[in-house]
Symmetry: C2
Subunit: 439 residues, 2 copies
Amino acid sequence: MSHPRGPLSQLRRGHEELVLGLLRKHGPLSRSELGKHCGLSRTTLYDILADLVAAGAVVATTSQEGPRGRGRPAETLTLNPDAGQAIGIDFARRGLHVAAINLAHEIVGSASEPHDADLPWAQRVDLAERLIGSLTITGTGLDNAALSGSGIGALSSTGTGTGALRLGALDAIGVGVVGPVDGRAAEDDDVAAEAPHPVQVLLRERFGVPVLLDNNTRLAALGESIWGAAADGQDVLYLRLSHGVGGGLVVGGSLHRGAYGLSGEFGHITVEPGGARCGCGGRGCLETVASIRAVLDAYRAAGGRATDVRELVKAVEAADRTALTLLEGVGARIGEMLAALCNAIGPSVIVVGGELVETGPALIEPIERALHEHVMPVSRHRVSLRRATLGEVAGALGGIALVLHESPLLSRYPAGPDLAEHPPSVDRRPVTTKQSRHP
Amino acid sequence: MSHPRGPLSQLRRGHEELVLGLLRKHGPLSRSELGKHCGLSRTTLYDILADLVAAGAVVATTSQEGPRGRGRPAETLTLNPDAGQAIGIDFARRGLHVAAINLAHEIVGSASEPHDADLPWAQRVDLAERLIGSLTITGTGLDNAALSGSGIGALSSTGTGTGALRLGALDAIGVGVVGPVDGRAAEDDDVAAEAPHPVQVLLRERFGVPVLLDNNTRLAALGESIWGAAADGQDVLYLRLSHGVGGGLVVGGSLHRGAYGLSGEFGHITVEPGGARCGCGGRGCLETVASIRAVLDAYRAAGGRATDVRELVKAVEAADRTALTLLEGVGARIGEMLAALCNAIGPSVIVVGGELVETGPALIEPIERALHEHVMPVSRHRVSLRRATLGEVAGALGGIALVLHESPLLSRYPAGPDLAEHPPSVDRRPVTTKQSRHP
């Protein structure tokens, strides 16, 4: 199937998205109800519905509640909750996280597995494929047997069992990786198009769909803003206190990358002028104060005993003075920095995640005090500070969100029922939608 | 003329914007060239062109360069450079600035006039109307006489002379005011729609077109990012050092408002913990260090003599040690703050404006040094620090940019040739496009 990219083909995709959006919003609808809502001509609508049903994105069922005795009962159209519309994968430094949603934008499953930091990309992608194959559909209540004849094949070699995720309607994969990602370089004529990340190439070969990429901490920010602590927040600041300190900004509902893919580097904001040397080359960066290692080092230097966050949490629970005083100071530095960013950016929600947050109120309360002391008084009661809720799959869920946000007009038509037998040609699909402008 | 707002009417406006965009990009085009570029059907294209010509947005002229001897010469379509598509007005505290552009997105004129801080809104709007009427079209080279029969009337009572700006194709007015503006409140169902600003009501009554509103310093940021020091910058941080200290963020080419219209409040970021009390209620805010008054006060406290910025500039030019040392310290505080924001937001350009920048390198160089010292090394050579170039009309130009950015699908069809005789009914047009969703 060809994918012309002129205005008319975009128009058609817009119409498809309109129909899918209406089914997402209203649930099952008859053809005539759909017609009323979408404003398309009968011919156009029927044409689009036929294609969506053929692709497995939409299911037509005979309504039980139609008016009796007035001709044949009306057909009702529903999103196919069994179609995996998007997959997110977080290739973290020492572990892999995957998640999938269906066309109704419900999370249908997630899985994680740790691995060594030096695992090669090819093996990480193998692992990702295996984890995706292990995802089973939960909570849809749909009769899978009813769809078995619909021609939707399973992509994953291990995903053929009953209840396994069906990838026939897979749209795209959203991927998080460690380090700066400049998603826009390829759009800028002045800059040579960024080479695709190896994981983009490998995943595209494996799944035959577009692979969108971003920094995994930024994706966690997007994930938390959609399904997590800041659900429905349009302007969200996410800070992660882990082995590194970083974060991301969601601005007007969209992930903010910055001019060179270098936004959200909260860990490298100077909080102690002339302080400790940081890995970035600077001095007194927040990461030298608030990373797991920095906090544990400072705790031991003050006479405390803890080799990991769990032991630190125990010390806090035992009301250890040294631990509480230390976290009070760390929290104050964090809160002061957050206040400055609030004044500049104006988020409605600040989400703090990462392992260090497991120390609870001993850290969160001093953060909140310093934030409230230094933010503009007029904003003081408007910004809400919350703990992250998505845990380690935040990045994978953010990958899905990236697909939903960045490619609303991506075709609903995937590679077809049997990719294994007919692998996609190299230029059938772009690695990312953006790079397609510079073939 | 009715303005239905369903998907199909949006589609039509999208087609109009497509045609206007092509003429903006390619210059004069024949109908068949337009047809090739836009992908619309002949019928749809001709229909849209007829309406655009009737509205005065597009001019049809007989091409001199058409192939001879092959039927009648082809008609060429051009944007009407004589149509004032958008007006920007900056209602600053003690002065008024206006600017206008034509459909080709060329600035056709600007004007300023100071006034007392307590001038009532009605009189400010009178003054705005007078200033707009005084704008004359420059540099278009178009024969005005050729258009005199086209039915495009002049709106402004004082703008009837030859060469005066014609407002027949006026789309909207973008307005900057002092203080926080939350442009999105009216979109949020949880929040009562913000009452329109008095200036919105008055201008709409006067001109009969939508009036978009934002904070005037943020609009200056947008103006500088389009026509000024950061022209074509997609991610721009603008800082204004004036009687107050404020600024704005342009994110991905769009103005960033923040969740409650409170973004860009750089003046209230704490730069000296426990420092001087600020008007906002905080302590040690940047404004207590880097506003005109703060700098002059500190200069006099250190034994210097200057009652305004001009005298301070003279002291700097005379290499006055006290002045140079003071600005060195002020610049360092500014640069440190800018570095923190760079790490968080990742702009490609930082623009510094406001009267205090007239002190030149004595202030800019210490800002740059502190910025480079504290920004992440990886970003150090990517972010560019520049002085603002638009001067006092930056806000008015930003108002125009607001119109172009926020209402790309606004109808090209204005009130008609003679608004004075047929004033628009109250609900014919929304005060802003956004509020129209909550009538």
